[in-house]
């Protein structure tokens, strides 16, 4: 595996922090609007965007090699199997 020599500028990291704080504000704001079932999906959607920012920039995933990217995606894939198969069972009981 090649060594990761990419250096993030302080300004890049800081703008990611600002974006994360703004998204936190949006998710709090959205929770005051009653959208019925969609509230959960909006909250989870914003949380996923925030998680992607942390993963890509703070955790450097954007500049990692194929082994890390693929193994991470398989983890997410197995998580998706765990969630969807559980609901597959729950929904048809």
């Amino acid at each position: 595996m090649e060594k990761n020599d990419h250096i993030f500028a302080y300004s890049t990291l800081f703008s990611v922090l600002v974006a994360l704080l703004i998204l936190t504000g949006i998710t709090v704001g959205a929770s005051f609007i009653d959208m019925g079932k969609f509230n959960v999906w909006v909250a989870l959607g914003i949380a996923s965007v925030k998680a992607s920012l942390v993963l890509m920039i703070f955790m450097h995933l954007k500049f990692e090699g194929r082994a890390l990217i693929l193994s991470f995606l398989s983890t997410v894939f197995f998580l998706a199997i765990m969630i969807s198969f559980t609901f597959w069972d729950i929904a048809f009981r």
């Binding site: 595996m1 090649e2 060594k3 990761n4 250096i7 993030f8 500028a9 302080y10 990291l13 800081f14 990611v16 922090l17 994360l20 704080l21 936190t24 998710t27 709090v28 929770s31 009653d34 959208m35 509230n39 959960v40 909250a43 989870l44 914003i46 949380a47 925030k50 998680a51 942390v54 993963l55 920039i57 703070f58 955790m59 450097h60 090699g65 082994a67 890390l68 193994s71 991470f72 983890t75 997410v76 197995f78 998580l79 765990m82 969630i83 559980t86 609901f87 729950i90």
Partner: protein, 222 residues
């Protein structure tokens, strides 16, 4: 006796990694491999918390109204403040790695120190939050929860398990960061050898990542 003597002709060659063979430096360690190990561990953490989130999702779909009532008991201010604190601490850790890469040791130490401070504030907040819940009779096996609706008992059960496990991760992450702080101070973490700090940072970011999902699920349910 002579059978145990070491053959002076047989020299032990130091094992070289692929990278060191390329650069010819036999003392260099496998930084990428160390990071890979950390990520493999983080995958197990994702599945661990993932399982708890599945539990939450199933009971939420079954006892939606009770979960909404339970969520209203939680103080949003605590939730928002702790979210902001963890985001800032994650930024500080990421900045400390940039500082180490640039050889700015002082900034790196300040940044790691700041994230440790943030972690402490987080735990203090958690202490007051849990303390208040326990004072008003919301804790596992409390009479109020046992006599109340089933869904609320489940909601607060999950609340204590997930935020408790997350709090434990904060403590472990802070320990890890404190060791990294010592390594930077001692000059063991340098611009071309910083996997230890990077791994402490990765762990800390994962703790932040989990909180990003805990916060809306528990504090913002409508």
């Amino acid at each position: 006796m002579s059978s145990h003597a070491i053959d002076p002709e047989k020299k032990v060659e130091p094992v070289k990694t692929g990278e060191s063979m390329k650069t010819g430096e036999s003392m260099k360690t496998d930084e990428a491999g160390k990071k890979m190990g950390m990520w493999l561990f983080l995958y197990t953490e994702i599945i661990l918390f993932g399982g708890l989130f599945v539990l939450y999702a199933v009971y939420f779909s079954k006892y939606t109204q009770d979960f909404i009532e339970g969520g209203k008991e939680l103080n949003r201010v605590f939730g928002v403040v702790n979210t902001v604190i963890l985001l800032i601490s994650s930024f500080a850790v990421a900045a400390s790695i940039t500082a180490v890469q640039k050889g700015q040791r002082k900034i790196a130490l300040w940044a790691i120190g700041a994230s440790l401070g943030c972690g402490t504030i987080f735990l203090v907040n958690k202490y007051f939050e849990w303390g208040h819940k326990i004072a008003i009779g919301i804790y596992p096996n409390s009479e109020r929860l046992l006599d109340g609706p089933d869904g609320q008992n489940l909601f607060f059960g999950l609340y204590y398990v997930i935020t408790g496990l997350h709090g434990l991760h904060i403590v472990i992450g802070m320990t890890f960061l404190a060791v990294a702080f010592g390594f930077v101070l001692a000059g063991k973490v340098t611009a071309d050898r910083f996997a230890m700090l990077e791994n402490a940072g990765l762990y800390w970011h994962l703790v932040d990542l989990i909180w990003i999902f805990v916060f809306p699920l528990f504090y913002l349910v409508i």
